[in-house]
């Protein structure tokens, strides 16, 4: 900074800082006297010197150090900064502003329910309010510090002294300005020397008054770059408030204009100018031919089929697939066991509504008596309040569900005899039945004498 005009100013006449502590150099003496700059060896000596200068009645002086020195403001007699008060106010405005922002956006201008919470709820707004508080406190703190310190000062008479360049490195400096009422060059120098200065030098202003302020080109650069930075905002503002006959500016034209048609766009290839083409009479889309009545509609010779379509291989994997789909699509209402006690009817019952769901598993109930084709049709097209699942489930999955429902019906009144003898050892301990399931009269009861290692013993207590 201070080396800017080195080539024009004569070097310091006498003082280089290692003399007897009372440098008397009068270098740079080409303009009016600005003040005196003294260097001290340690921060502690600087603080002591500052106190002496203050006690001598000087007011127009300042201390310069590479780092904040404890106690310097008290020694210089500077009153405490009002910055903390400003920061408190800034932070408070941040809180209010953040909360107002959230109220305006989410509760007033565009009410939007998120996660079932009220549009205006304090707990959800606290984090944002907290962040804006911090943000505004930091802004006030940062910019307030610069403004209160009258920074940045890019042009100052002390910058003309080489010594001052060391203030960001290892120099502890005290400068007294000549405009101080008590200033007297010799007496002031003596005061600073008595306070232990290792070097003292006067500082003169530039001879040319035009060079005493910031060079015009720096100012011009700041102003012009600031103006330049505002151009995008100005363009955006103009575009928002005017109309234009010019086409849009396209930065990636090959992304914006792709060689394809989107639905509902115009197309001059056809007489009706539509790019959407409907089905042509007498044609059918690839994969859309559903000619097989049994496979797609559950019909055989115009009646509900009682078997399965001949294309399907009914094996364990197929039934497991049916179980998987059933548990996803059917169990919410019909329950995992198919008895009509799923989560939805349970919840409705808890709220007092009356709504019954068919028991799919009971062999005595209607669904068990339906032919396979009718079950398939019900899954596909719905029944009463149950909607059809043809959109969600491919036809093969619907047939798999039919197979699984048959398995559920088979297991409804199952006894240990239904389990193959070699699998009986693998059976987990049965859960307690959810509903009374009296053995149907048609099912032979197990012989009391039969060896049954996995036969459920009556539960001794508790309930699900």
């Amino acid at each position: 900074m201070a080396t800017h005009d080195e080539h024009e100013t004569p070097p310091p006449a006498a003082d280089d800082g290692n003399g007897n502590g009372t440098g008397t150099g009068d270098g740079y003496g080409d303009g009016a006297l600005y003040g005196v700059l003294a260097e001290y060896d340690t921060p502690g000596e600087l603080v002591d010197a500052a106190r002496k200068v203050r006690d001598a009645g000087y007011t127009e002086f300042d201390c310069f150090s590479p780092f904040p020195v404890h106690g310097i403001d008290e020694a210089m007699g500077i009153k405490r900064t009002i910055l903390p008060v400003l920061i408190f106010c800034g932070g408070f405005l941040g809180t209010i502003g953040g909360l107002f922002l959230e109220w305006w956006m989410n509760a007033h201008n565009w009410p939007w329910i998120v996660s079932g919470k009220p549009t205006w709820s304090i707990p959800a707004n606290v984090p944002i309010g907290f962040e804006t508080t911090i943000l505004m406190s930091v802004f006030t703190s940062f910019f307030g510090m610069w403004i209160l310190n009258k920074l940045p000062q890019v042009w100052h008479p002390f910058f003309r002294l080489d010594r001052f360049a060391r203030v960001t490195d290892d120099a502890f400096l005290l400068g007294i300005e000549a405009r101080d009422q008590r200033f007297d060059l010799e007496a002031t120098k003596k005061l600073l020397a008595d306070a232990g200065a290792i070097a003292i030098e006067p500082c003169y202003l530039e001879a040319d008054p035009a060079r005493r302020t910031m060079p015009k080109w720096i100012l011009a650069f700041i102003v012009s770059s600031t103006a330049f930075a505002l151009i995008p905002f100005a363009i955006a503002a103009k575009a928002r408030n005017s109309t234009s006959t010019e086409p849009h500016l396209h930065i990636f034209p090959d992304m914006d204009f792709q060689p394809k048609y989107k639905s509902d766009t115009a197309c001059d290839m056809f007489p009706d100018a539509r790019c959407n083409r409907g089905e042509l009479p007498g044609t059918i889309a690839r994969g859309s031919l559903q000619a097989d009545d049994t496979l797609y509609r559950g019909l055989a010779d115009g009646q509900w089929t009682t078997g399965f379509p001949r294309q399907l291989d009914i094996n364990e994997a197929f039934v497991r697939r049916g179980q998987n789909r059933f548990n996803i699509y059917c169990a919410p209402c019909h329950g995992y066991d198919g008895r009509g006690q799923g989560a939805v009817p349970q919840r409705l019952a808890a709220s007092g509504a009356s709504w019954s769901v068919r028991n799919l598993a009971d062999p005595a109930a209607t669904p068990a008596k339906m032919p396979n084709g009718q079950l398939f049709n019900t899954i596909s097209n719905g029944f009463n309040t149950m909607m059809g699942y043809a959109q969600q489930l491919p036809h093969i999955d619907r047939w798999a569900i039919v197979a699984y429902v048959r398995a559920l019906q088979r297991s409804y009144n199952a006894t240990i005899d239904d389990v193959p003898a070699d699998k009986r050892g693998n059976m987990p301990a049965p859960p307690m039945p959810a509903a009374p399931a009296a053995p149907s009269s048609s099912t032979p009861s197990t012989s009391p004498a039969s060896p049954a290692p996995a036969t459920p013993a009556p539960a001794t207590g508790g309930a699900p």
Partner: protein
């Protein structure tokens, strides 16, 4: 003006009979108030349930204060602190009370081990019912009285070892003046901080959070630690003032050191609120029954008033006033807030424990089972302050003072610590 300062020649830095008299006073308080508490607890007519709840609250209170103070000791070494050297010996003396505190804690650990099942629900037979307590069932491997007692002993040994290591080495330096001891302590402080953090969190989970054994919160230990540090720094401020009132350390410790203690107290006041709100907001937002149940019994019914008191008293009021530099530098003002926060720190622990006091009995298959805390109508859960809550608290604080007094001997300031001259000249910007 200088950056270092040596110990004032007239400074009284020897403890002398201070420790012995503090032990006497503290022991007297403990004997009287714990005796009264035994009478009150025995005549409460609830099988000592109230007494033991009050005892765990009071014990957690004195334990947490030491946790807070120990943190300053370890942090001071870890961060190469300067100012706290002036009060570090007092901190070391305070954390010297850890052994006595952990012996006092056996007062509830042994009954739990012996089968007392009115304190922690997880010790109750019905907590094992797989139907009634499906989720709790899986936690009972950890929450078993035997394993709980083992962990308690680990906490006791761990905290005692940490505290005594730093105190012993510091005393050694008083003799030898060897600056290498500072270096050793600095190296030890890193691992010590990790051990300290784990011990603190786990102790909070075991001793306080397990009052609500079905509840989930991973930040609970951090939140407890924040509260503990508020209590620790508040207690430290009062301790320093008490010692200065006896004419000791009057030159060494000044407004600058009080200011820094106050800054920490302020910081943790906010930190506590920050973690408490984090815990609350995530559970409120997630809205899952196993999490919100803890707040259900704090935000409705009588307890909502305690919750509001916590928000205003433990955070908003001290936060706004401790923001200012002067409320921390003017000693009577700092003392006011220290006492204030010590009371609310107790209320914090009370608020953490006592909503779980009322257990509900439920009937399954015509069998009456104790379903434990946080069940039933919120209107049935009462704040119900009882005299025994306060007498146990005061008695245990007396015990803490007695424990501190035992260690308050010799030099009250680390006279040969290389950083002491910097600490004595310490100034806040």
């Amino acid at each position: 003006m200088s950056l270092t300062k040596s110990l004032h020649p007239d400074e009284k830095y020897k403890a002398g009979k201070l420790g012995a008299s503090l032990t006497k006073i503290g022991g007297g308080i403990a004997a009287v108030f714990l005796g009264v508490s035994l009478i009150l607890g025995g005549t409460h007519g609830d099988g000592w349930k109230r007494f033991f709840h009050a005892y765990v609250i009071g014990w957690s209170y004195i334990f947490s204060i030491l946790v807070g103070v120990l943190w300053l000791v370890i942090l001071h070494h870890l961060a190469r602190g300067r100012w706290a050297t002036a009060v570090r010996r007092i901190c070391e003396a305070m954390t010297g009370a850890f052994p006595l505190v952990f012996i006092a804690g056996l007062g509830f650990v042994i009954p739990v081990l012996a089968g007392y099942d009115n304190l922690y629900y997880w010790t109750h037979h019905d907590a094992h019912d797989a139907v009634l307590n499906h989720h709790l069932h899986h936690k009972l491997g950890w929450l078993s009285p035997e394993f709980f007692a083992v962990r308690y002993v680990i906490y006791g040994i761990g905290f005692t070892a940490l505290a005594s290591y730093f105190a012993r080495k510091s005393r050694e330096q008083d003799e030898s003046g060897d600056p290498k001891i500072s270096e050793q302590l600095r190296i030890a402080s890193g691992p010590a901080m990790i051990v300290y953090a784990l011990l603190t969190c786990m102790a909070a989970f075991d001793i306080l959070m397990s009052f609500a054994p079905k509840w989930y919160s991973t930040i609970y230990g951090v939140n407890f630690w924040g509260s503990a540090c508020v209590g620790g720094f508040a207690a430290l401020a009062l301790m320093v003032l008490g010692i200065q009132r006896t004419g000791r350390l009057t030159h060494s410790i000044n407004a600058e050191h009080y200011h820094d203690i106050g800054k920490w107290m302020f910081a943790f006041t906010f930190f506590w609120a920050y973690t408490a709100f984090s815990q609350f907001m995530l559970q409120w937002y997630g809205n899952m029954p196993e999490e919100t149940v803890w707040y259900k019994y704090r935000l409705f019914g009588e307890w909502q008033w305690v919750s509001i008191a916590m928000l205003v008293g433990f955070w908003a009021f001290p936060f706004v006033f401790l923001l200012s530099r002067w409320t921390k530098r003017i000693v009577p003002s700092l003392v006011f807030f220290a006492v204030w926060q010590l009371v609310f720190h107790w209320l914090d622990i009370y608020w953490n424990v006592m909503p779980q006091y009322d257990w509900q009995v439920t009937t399954i298959d015509k069998v009456a089972l104790n379903a434990g805390p946080l069940m039933g109508d919120t209107a049935l859960h009462h704040v119900g302050f009882s005299p025994v809550d306060v007498t146990v608290w005061i008695g245990l604080v007396g015990l803490l003072l007695a424990g501190i007094g035992r260690k308050l001997k010799g030099n009250l300031i680390p006279v040969k610590d290389p950083t002491l001259p910097l600490a004595l000249a310490h100034e806040n910007l």
